[in-house]
Symmetry: C2
Subunit: 331 residues, 2 copies
């Protein structure tokens, strides 16, 4: 057994294996250019719209990569997950495709579209109160009740390997287009997408600088990376980015981000709304608040990208029409 | 001089030449799959989102293909166009890229986004009243005043060749994906996109059946194709599809549609709104009313596509936020 196999973090080979399992199931999202975005930023920006991914976010990649490796016995017992919505939909859709029962606990204030779709993919949804209920106790009760396998949203080697296929595709698509990437920006909750993608980029595009982007108030990863150890967020923090409200960097993910010298950026809710409006008006893409943070970072000048070639992921598009229209109609 | 060069209709070679001129300027839009769309229709649907095209619609292809062939002297004199908005933006953006002055007459009730963007690309916009003003007289006055070249939206060989590059890409992308296309659906105003695309498909994918989709009340092409000669629309017809309100099939385009045995479909405003909502919820794409007619035709069952492989073009995404949100928020 080699060292890599002992590590909880995904290796490049893990990501390649996940990509093979996802072939023909996940959408290979394109890498798009938008002249107006290049004009505004002074950069060449390549946009990876994971909004077009199955279930409307990159989370499907990690969920299917994990579930497709479960044994027949584990599949029969089913899976359990906790999520405000994108991981929930990813797990539910992957479970449906594989014929696995899924029980998913979601906060009662999750966006209606995320709740509806998770049920639509056939999962049993258990609602809990984000403030009152003890999530840990609920998890233990659900696991005991169902006998199922817990599918963590980021602190899981196979899940992060699956999420990393997004970075693998970026590196290969950029190479096929004859482009050298200077920077790559990823949204960050627990850090699974960035950890997986940074692992892929380190192998295929080692000169690319990797950045996380978080909402202000939930910039635990940015502060942790700067401090050199994991820090949490203030308990009263608030953001419209419902997908990115993780309490602190992951056990598995944080050392990976450190290893690849990832740096952290943060954006305000106002900057996120402006990015959603820009995506509506100039990219014709529906992007949810948490999915728009990388675009918000570029448009608000959080990073000097003039003259550089930059890849960004728009990580999800599952936003209730009322929330979306409140942003784009008042602009 | 060969026969093809005498014909006002574009040849396959014209479309290939236009594609070469558009390389690196127009966006090669992807051909996307959406599992929920396949599930709803029972077909394998390949979606070409020209919403992601430069200026937010396929019209840029035709405009740039035309303007890039003008002589230095004609470029100096400038170009003139009439358009409710997508051709206007296409011509304005192409003219800006090529350093050509553009004067564009637009109806005063065109969507605000289309008016704003056309001006944003540097064109002089002249507003006219769709009902009161004599468009022909206005055209002659503008041409005399500016000495410019009139860029017609569809009855022009080079414009339709440029628009046909959309069909060329569909045929090549489907072939690269190992897919045989049974059907291809295009929105239809004057018929330029369909005429160009049908010409490309006849060469590269001759077994593919081609359909136009129009708004009810503006289904002049469907009725003309059925009758075997050109027919107009009732003068009091009304539709939310502002991009598709052409009075009758084009001189150039109609014989091309007949030659390739194109058939015509029509959809109601309600079906268009439902398609816009579907695109929002399941495809995360912003599609304008006229851009959603092909999707509307599939979702409302205008064509039995079960078990078939079908390409559709989402032709544009330039829709005012108020109009968009009125459709998606009341669904």
């Amino acid at each position: 057994m080699n060292a890599a196999a002992d590590s909880p973090a995904p290796t490049f080979a893990d990501i390649e294996a996940a990509a093979r399992r996802l072939r023909g199931v996940a959408v290979e999202t394109p890498l798009l250019s938008f002249p107006e975005l290049d004009r505004r930023t002074g950069a060449r920006v390549l946009v990876k719209p994971e909004t077009l991914q199955r279930t409307g976010s990159f989370k499907f990649r990690g969920a299917y990569a994990k579930l497709s490796t479960l044994s027949p016995e584990a599949r029969r017992r089913g899976v359990v997950a906790f999520s405000s919505g994108n991981h929930a939909q990813g797990v539910a859709a992957a479970a449906q495709l594989l014929g696995i029962p899924a029980t998913i606990a979601m906060p009662s204030d999750a966006p209606a579209m995320k709740l509806r779709n998770t049920r639509g993919y056939g999962a049993q949804v258990r609602s809990y109160d984000r403030r009152r209920d003890d999530r840990q106790a609920l998890a233990e009760a659900l696991l005991e009740e169902t006998g199922g396998t817990l599918v963590r949203p980021y602190d899981d080697r196979k899940v992060t390997a699956g999420q990393g296929t997004c970075g693998l595709e970026i590196a290969r698509q950029a190479r096929d287009a004859g482009v050298r990437l200077d920077d790559a920006l990823f949204c960050c909750g627990g850090g699974g997408l960035t950890a997986g993608a940074a692992t892929a980029l380190a192998e295929l595009s080692p000169g690319t600088a990797v950045y996380t982007v978080e909402p202000e108030g939930f910039d635990d990863t940015a502060r942790s990376l700067a401090a050199g150890h994991r820090l949490g967020n203030a308990p009263d923090a608030h953001s419209i980015c419902d997908a990115l409200l993780s309490p602190m960097p992951g056990d598995l993910t944080f050392p990976v981000l450190q290893r690849y010298r990832v740096q952290g950026l943060a954006v305000s809710d106002g900057e996120v709304r402006e990015a959603m409006v820009f995506a509506y008006a100039w990219m014709k893409l529906v992007v949810e608040p948490g999915g728009a943070v990388t675009l918000a970072a570029l448009l608000s000048g959080k990073l000097d990208v003039r003259g550089r070639t930059v890849a960004i992921v728009l990580s999800g598009g599952n936003v209730d029409a009322e929330t979306f229209c409140a942003a784009v109609c008042t602009a």
